[in-house]
């Protein structure tokens, strides 16, 4: 990212090489249409190139910043398209979890899946459908609490509670995993 501030074209290429797969996976998960996801991804890198000073390393790593920017642009797209309801978003997410369900039942796979994203995915799956629906509607659907409440027919307070509990649960699982991980690699 520092190279971008120096207007280093090669730095932009390197940034793309490093982060594009993650961002594209994220955007694709949100917008679902490959061609549209590619357009959003392109917008993200153009925006980063044009405004490198907006990244503040004291607020977190470049990866986090880029992911936030990617989600913002994907949400802009979704809102402009006005074609997804929370139900559609959740149906898509449930399909993804169905695909993961086999992983959860496979002990060998669970042991092998020691990477961070695997643990988090399992943690998310362990939240339960109701909490997960609210979290994913917000994060991947770009929906506010009120919109989730309206679309799911839930009280606003319930949505708020579920989201916060979900975040706490995720953090707890990640913290536990982080504490256990040194032992996993010990003698």
């Amino acid at each position: 990212m520092q190279g971008l501030a120096g207007r280093d074209a090669a730095a932009l290429g390197e940034l793309y090489d490093r982060h594009a797969p993650l961002l594209y996976g994220l955007i694709l998960r949100m917008v679902r249409v490959e061609a549209d996801a590619q357009g959003v991804l392109s917008d993200v890198f153009v925006e980063v190139w044009e405004n490198p000073h907006r990244f503040n390393p004291q607020r977190g790593p470049a990866r986090t910043y880029l992911a936030m920017l990617a989600r913002c642009r994907a949400v802009d797209y979704l809102r402009s398209q006005r074609r997804r309801t929370v139900h559609e978003a959740l149906a898509a997410e449930h399909a993804a979890h169905d695909a993961d369900a086999g992983d959860e039942g496979d002990p060998a796979e669970a042991v092998a899946d020691a990477e961070q994203h695997g643990r988090v995915r399992q943690a998310l799956a362990g939240l339960g459908a109701r909490h997960r629906a609210c979290l994913e509607g917000a994060y991947f659907g770009g929906l506010t609490h009120r919109e989730i409440a309206e679309q799911l027919g839930l009280p606003l307070g319930t949505v708020k509670t579920r989201i916060r509990q979900g975040l706490l649960r995720l953090r707890s699982v990640l913290s536990d995993a982080a504490e256990r991980s040194p032992g996993e690699h010990g003698p």
Partner: protein
């Protein structure tokens, strides 16, 4: 902002619908309020955790070139030269915001720059994928007496400012291993070629930049290792042709008597370069001085017609 306002904005934070100004206010409040700082950490860590559930997906290989084309081809300076470009996949850029300091600073350096051409090329590739028409491309006789210090200085400035200020178009071969930019320094009128990620040529070879002028390929110059990846072509000529193509080839040191080496990259006018159109045969006669030795300065380029 008070704590109640802060909590009301967390909703939009998770949904990625927080306005830039609100995000700054959120963070500013968290800097002053430990309890809200903990809450912000919870929400940002939660967002990071949800990101971890997303498996990476490799985007199509061609998208990289398109992204670079769009980003590097943007010009927001006063001349907006790139507005005339028709870049595939490009969309109108946003107006620069009031805080676009680096870009403006770059324009102060390069505000008088007239034109540029970004050429990306993959080693060993004979055919490049062309994505856009060129901007202004010219050819000139090499300015004599350019000292190494001046070249190094311009190379540094090009590296820093080219991407921000130069109207540029991109061509990327399948491997996309290097990028080159042809720029005109409006202050001096000199034409430069600057390349990044261009490794040394194979032993006995050198990279050569060519222009097509009046139906013939003319050698602009060679990028020799001792010069780094920079080539000072010379003063920009009058009467530039906006459609003059350019190519980069790999040549034997000292030049080839017959033909030329593989084309590594080309300016976007060369859609699917026809072998008959590539530098070799036509260029050979104008490329080298009689006797097969390079002319002084390694260049023998006819000035463009006014």
């Amino acid at each position: 902002m008070n704590c109640s306002d802060f909590h009301n904005l967390l909703d939009a934070l998770l949904a990625a619908r927080l306005a830039a100004g609100d995000r700054a206010r959120l963070e500013a409040h968290a800097d002053r309020c430990p309890a809200c700082a903990d809450e912000l950490r919870l929400w940002t860590e939660g967002a990071d955790a949800l990101l971890e559930t997303t498996p990476p997906v490799a985007p199509p290989a061609a998208l990289r070139a398109e992204v670079l084309t769009r980003a590097l081809g943007r010009v927001t300076g006063p001349d907006k030269v790139s507005d005339s470009l028709s870049i595939r996949g490009a969309t109108p850029g946003r107006d620069p915001g009031p805080d676009d300091g680096p870009r403006r600073a770059a324009w102060r350096w390069w505000g008088a720059v007239a034109a540029g051409l970004l050429v990306s090329f993959g080693l060993g590739r004979g055919v490049a994928t062309l994505t856009a028409p060129p901007t202004v491309v010219g050819v000139a006789e090499r300015a004599p007496g350019a000292d190494a210090g001046a070249i190094a200085q311009r190379e540094r400035l090009l590296a820093q400012g080219a991407g921000a200020a130069m109207p540029a178009v991109t061509l990327v071969a399948a491997s996309g291993r290097a990028e080159g930019r042809l720029v005109v320094d409006g202050d001096t009128g000199e034409l430069h070629f600057y390349a990044v990620r261009l490794g040394p040529p194979p032993d006995g070879s050198e990279y050569c930049l060519w222009f097509r002028v009046d139906g013939a390929w003319r050698l602009a110059g060679a990028l020799r290792p001792e010069r780094g990846a920079h080539l000072l072509v010379g003063p920009s000529p009058r009467g530039w042709s906006a459609k003059a193509p350019a190519v980069v080839t790999l040549e034997p040191v000292g030049g080839a008597d017959e033909g030329a080496g593989p084309t590594l990259g080309a300016s976007p006018t060369l859609s699917t370069p026809d072998p008959a159109e590539e530098p070799p045969a036509e260029a050979a006669s104008s490329k080298r001085a009689p006797g097969g030795t390079p002319p002084a300065g390694g260049l023998d380029v006819a000035p463009a017609q006014p």
